[in-house]
């Protein structure tokens, strides 16, 4: 029988190497996010607490903008819902894998950002390592890197004075890279192209303040209508 301490140490040792690439990415992006938020006039407490409680990079960048606009929590809620809608599909993919005992399961779902999802989804957990604790450490380590980066960025922004004009492009660059990664990995580009075209048309028709929800609905509608045709064309197996 292994003691609890041994189980934990073994799971940590197996989980940690999987999170090293995320460490680099999250501290870098987190710092940029913290500096950006600071440049927009917020104390380091904002990026620190937001990275701790929201733990979703895209919506955290978007929230900075929302905090500078007139008070509208309902809009903030729906923005979070639409921008993070992809989590619904992570969840569906993890229904089986995240079936672990105890309160860990709650934390795994709470902390299911893109990176923790992909590491836990792809991970080959070694024989004998506790699955639940492995997934817990992956999630908790990634979470801590993100909070660390955002907090450091917020503090750094207060100490160092430099011209941050144009720093907001980091969000665009992040999304383009995520999109390219998806593009290079997918067998057919139907969904990517539908997403691009529909969003661009909706932006022109509805303007920058109100296009995201019509675009989301239209994308869902088109993907639903052409489901059979896509199956025939071999877009999805």
């Amino acid at each position: 029988m292994k003691t609890k301490k041994q189980v934990l140490r073994q799971a940590f040792k197996a989980a940690f190497p999987n999170t090293i690439p995320i460490f680099a990415g999250f501290t870098f992006l987190g710092m940029a996010y913290g500096i950006y938020m600071n440049a927009m006039g917020f104390s380091f407490l904002y990026p620190m607490l937001m990275s701790l409680t929201i733990l979703a990079g895209s919506i955290e960048f978007v929230t900075v903008g929302l905090l500078l606009e007139p008070f509208d929590p309902l809009r903030a809620f729906f923005m979070a819902l639409t921008i993070n809608a992809r989590h619904l599909f992570y969840g569906i993919s993890m229904l089986e894998k995240y079936r672990v005992p105890g309160i860990k399961r709650f934390y795994l779902i709470f902390g299911m950002c893109d990176e923790s999802f992909s590491v836990n989804y792809m991970a080959d957990i070694p024989e004998g390592v506790d699955k639940g604790w492995f997934q817990f450490f992956v999630t908790a380590l990634n979470h801590s890197y993100w909070v660390l980066g955002a907090t450091l960025g917020g503090l750094l922004g207060q100490v160092i004075e430099f011209n941050t004009k144009g720093l907001e492009f980091i969000m665009t660059a992040l999304f383009i890279v995520l999109f390219l990664n998806q593009w290079m990995k997918e067998e057919s580009h139907h969904s990517s192209l539908i997403g691009l075209t529909v969003s661009a048309i909706c932006l022109i028709l509805f303007g920058s303040d109100g296009f995201i929800i019509p675009a989301m609905v239209l994308i869902l509608l088109i993907l639903t209508i052409f489901r059979k045709a896509f199956a025939k064309a071999g877009v999805v197996r």
Binding site: F28, T53, L167, S191, V236
Partner: protein, 110 residues
Amino acid sequence: MTMNVTQHIITILAVILGTMATRFLPFILFPADKSTPKYVEYLGKVLPAAVLALLVVYSLKDVEILTGNHGIPELIAIGVVVSLHIWKKQMLLSIAGGTITYMLLVQFIF
């Protein structure tokens, strides 16, 4: 009109609620002992690509194409991100390269 701290907190709580809804809903809707509907499985495969495309457009929504500098700095910086990423496939390099290019362009040239 700028918000006060209470309104900030309420806005952030709304964002947390929206985010957590997307993470917890599947586990509430599809308990592990029931099978997931085929339609939902299909969406799980095709939707992420479209949502990423939507986010790209979203992040460019305020670019003025008809006025100002006509989105030229954005276009150049996007070119840098895409080229770097196709060339090196290093996520951080592509993001840093594109962002620094953009900052230099809007601070010194445009």
